[in-house]
């Protein structure tokens, strides 16, 4: 055997893997005990000035992005790559091995074997055995060996790659995370209803990021359970390119909108003490909307009417009901209560109006671009697939050696599996019983 380079052996060893994984497990605890991403003064106050300085030197406040934690992850990745380079070629050789060339002595010495004698001629018997095996899903090959005939069948050769799929999946996930880190961003924006933006603000730095298109919030609603707990937060968003609408969607928590790789998540909201009212003349169908501050009526020029909010009821931060004052110069003004988000018909001398009103909100959107997510998900899929293959499948091999003995043919059957040997023993004995007949 060739002697291996010691550096190579070091990086391919499972000992190193156990060491790195243990260190990752232990150091990961730090960030769950010490709150992350606070300011220096926060740590100084909570612990002490000296401790805060030590934290700073060791990058504890952002430990999962620190040089030493990332180095540990890199070490794990190198370990995985080198270990695979070291072992995979051997495994591939076993998968592609010419099992009909196996040393006949080895076949007779296998732990699982069985002998019997048949009256049939070797060739005829080989055909029969092949078809019985085929019925059980074993594909058989044969070759003349000296005076004998060797049959070989196998299942699950590829299952030997399972472990390597798992290991590769970890690297794929790392690559996906790196892509997201390099080419993605995460930020947020507080967007009042009816307003449009083409910028958002990056987390951490607060830098503004150009979206390359416009997003408008048309409407924001809160739906409540009877108990008053929030049931849904919903924003009606419109994406515009050069003033033209290209996409409209109502987003909720767990149901974001994606456009050009940028995704908008419903994350928070802010209530204003302003109201949005919309008045429609039922005859002409003419409609006008207006933003009203509390108790500051406004005139709606196109409808020749005026409207104002004279009173309102709050529940927490949200307005649930509002008292509307409405006048169209035809007799005394109407006042009535309107539930937020509802609409009513108001009858005026000779005219009918539909009036809808709600509190004005800004929707809080989390905005993320992460071109690495797909890669991460592919890695996750590979991991699950690889684990299933590695844990539950095995490479099973069967040899049948047919040799002439007077007029008869003696059969030597033997087999092996790389895993779950107990299970294979059962398969082997039932299969050999079947082949004997």
């Amino acid at each position: 055997m060739k002697k291996k380079n010691p550096v190579f052996s070091f990086f391919s060893s499972v000992k190193l893997a156990l060491f790195t994984l243990s260190l990752l497990a232990v150091t990961s605890i730090i960030g769950t005990v010490i709150p992350q991403k606070e300011t220096f003064s926060w740590y100084a106050e909570r612990y002490s000035e000296a401790t805060a300085k030590i934290f700073q030197v060791l990058s504890i406040p952002d430990m999962y992005n620190s040089w030493w934690f990332l180095s540990l992850l890199t070490l794990l990745a190198i370990n995985l790559i080198v270990c695979s380079i070291d072992r995979f070629p051997g495994v591939w050789k076993q998968i592609k091995a010419d099992n009909l060339a196996t040393d006949l002595k080895r076949i007779s010495k296998m732990r699982l074997s069985n002998n019997w004698v048949s009256d049939k001629a070797a060739d005829k018997l080989a055909t029969e055995l092949t078809s019985t095996l085929a019925n059980k899903g074993w594909k058989t090959e044969k070759r003349k060996r000296d005076d004998a005939l060797l049959l070989f069948a196998q299942k699950g050769a590829m299952s030997r790659t399972g472990v390597y799929i798992v290991h590769a999946s970890i690297l794929v996930i790392f690559v996906g995370a790196l892509i997201g880190e390099l080419y993605g961003f995460k930020g947020s924006i507080m967007l009042p209803e009816s307003q449009t933006t083409n910028k958002i603000f990056e987390f951490g730095t607060g830098n503004s990021i150009d979206l390359g298109f416009d997003v408008r919030c048309d409407r924001f609603d809160i739906e409540l359970y009877d108990s008053g707990m929030p049931k849904a937060y919903r924003s009606h968003l419109t994406v515009l390119e050069e003033g033209k609408i290209v996409l409209e969607k109502k987003i909720v928590v767990n149901g974001p909108l994606t456009y050009k790789g940028i995704t908008f998540y419903q994350s928070s909201y802010q209530g204003y003490e302003d109201f949005i009212l919309s008045v429609t003349d039922q005859q002409s169908g003419k409609n006008q909307s207006v933003v009203l501050p509390f108790q500051k009526p406004k005139a709606l020029a196109s409808l020749k009417t005026s409207i104002g909010i004279v009173n309102a009821q709050m529940q927490g931060q949200s307005i649930t009901r509002m008292k509307v004052w409405f006048d169209d110069d035809q007799g005394p003004a109407s006042t009535f209560w309107l539930n937020a988000g509802d609409q009513v018909t108001v009858e005026r001398p000779g005219k009918k109006y539909t009036i809808a009103g709600k509190q004005m909100y800004a929707t809080g959107l989390q905005v993320a671009k992460d071109p690495g997510v797909l890669v991460v998900y592919i890695g996750c899929g590979m991991m699950i697939l690889g684990l299933i293959v590695a844990f539950f499948m095995s490479h099973k091999r069967i040899w049948l050696l047919l040799s002439k003995e007077n007029d008869k043919t003696s059969v030597l059957m033997s087999g092996s599996a790389n895993k779950n040997k107990v299970g294979f023993e059962k398969i082997f004995s039932s299969l050999s019983a079947e082949l004997k007949n």
Binding site: V14, K15, A17, L18, L21, S22, L24, A25, S28, I29, G31, T32, V33, Q36, Y64, A177, K186, Y225, D226, S227, M229, P230, K231, A232, Y233, V252, V253, N254, G255, P256, T263, Y265, Q266, S267, Q366, V367, A368, D370, V373, V376, Y377, C380, M383, I384, L387, I388, F391
Partner: protein
């Protein structure tokens, strides 16, 4: 009959199951074996009915969610999975002694859910962030993993007890410990159970990441609960490698099974009460 009554009964039936299996083990009362099994199956069916009923009640209240969304419901599901897994092991490996070490976990979980004052048993509506099918997949898969790790820890304890007495040479086939499965078999079942748990924990972490990504746009944010689930995952990955490539077995693996489960418990309870983060809903 409502779901809380059924689940209340379950707590007591699992206690009784525990006593039955313990009696079989301590007093070598082999004849009680079938009684214990049948009783546990009935208890399991009662609990299943309780869970289904609770699901229906949630729909009747207009909340429309599977009973897997708060600490109480997760504890109930945890107990259910342990019993389900245990019954499968009893059937597959034809031994009842393991029951004395696995069923108590289900009883303790139910007792904790029923009697702890810090736990809200109401069926409550879901806040928007929790309205996701990925959440359901996440909880189910994580708890199948946790249940497997609980059973593995019980097997680890069995292994250590038996091993201790064998090394003191006090065991003969008539003694109490002689009725335990051979060490080699225990070692094998422990390993298989951990492998099963590792697969489900992996799926659990992945579905959790997908959920987080659909709700917040970040599949991994190193919040304490996520980090602890990863630590637990590392511990079991270390265990698998130590066994598979360095030939560890027996006592060391038994200890690792117990140690891993301590980490599971911390991920599950400890984080909610001692640390803070996104998963704080669990503390209500």
């Amino acid at each position: 009959m409502d779901s809380s009554q059924l689940l209340g009964i379950t707590t007591f039936t699992y206690m009784f199951s525990t006593i039955l299996y313990a009696t079989i083990f301590i007093f070598k009362a082999k004849k009680l074996g079938p009684v214990a099994t049948v009783f546990t199956i009935v208890a399991f069916l009662i609990q299943t009915a309780g869970i289904i009923l609770r699901w229906q009640e949630s729909y009747a209240l207009g909340y429309d969610h599977a009973p897997l969304t708060n600490m109480y419901e997760s504890v109930v599901f945890f107990a259910w999975t342990i019993i389900c897994l245990y019954l499968v092991i009893e059937w597959k490996f034809k031994t009842r002694i393991i029951g004395a070490f696995a069923v108590p976990f289900a009883f303790l979980a139910m007792a904790y859910g029923s009697f702890s004052t810090g736990i809200n048993k109401e069926i409550s509506p879901l806040i928007p962030a929790l309205q996701s099918n990925w959440l359901i997949a996440h909880v189910v898969t994580c708890f199948i993993g946790y249940a497997a790790f609980a059973v593995a820890a019980g097997l680890g304890v069995m292994y250590l007890i038996k091993n201790m007495s064998e090394s003191r040479q006090t065991t003969n086939d008539d003694s109490r410990l002689g009725s335990l499965p051979p060490l080699k078999v225990l070692d094998d079942i422990t390993h298989k159970t951990m492998v099963f748990g590792f697969l489900w924990l992996s799926v659990g972490i992945i579905t959790g990441a997908i959920w987080a990504n659909s709700a917040w746009g970040t599949y991994w944010s190193w919040d304490p609960k996520e980090t602890w689930s990863l630590i637990t995952w590392f511990i079991y990955a270390i265990t698998l490698h130590a066994r598979y490539t360095r030939g560890w077995g027996g006592t060391r693996i038994a200890w690792l099974a117990i140690f891993g489960f301590v980490s599971v418990i911390f991920t599950y309870y400890g984080v909610n009460f001692l640390l803070s983060g996104l998963h704080s809903y669990g503390s209500s």
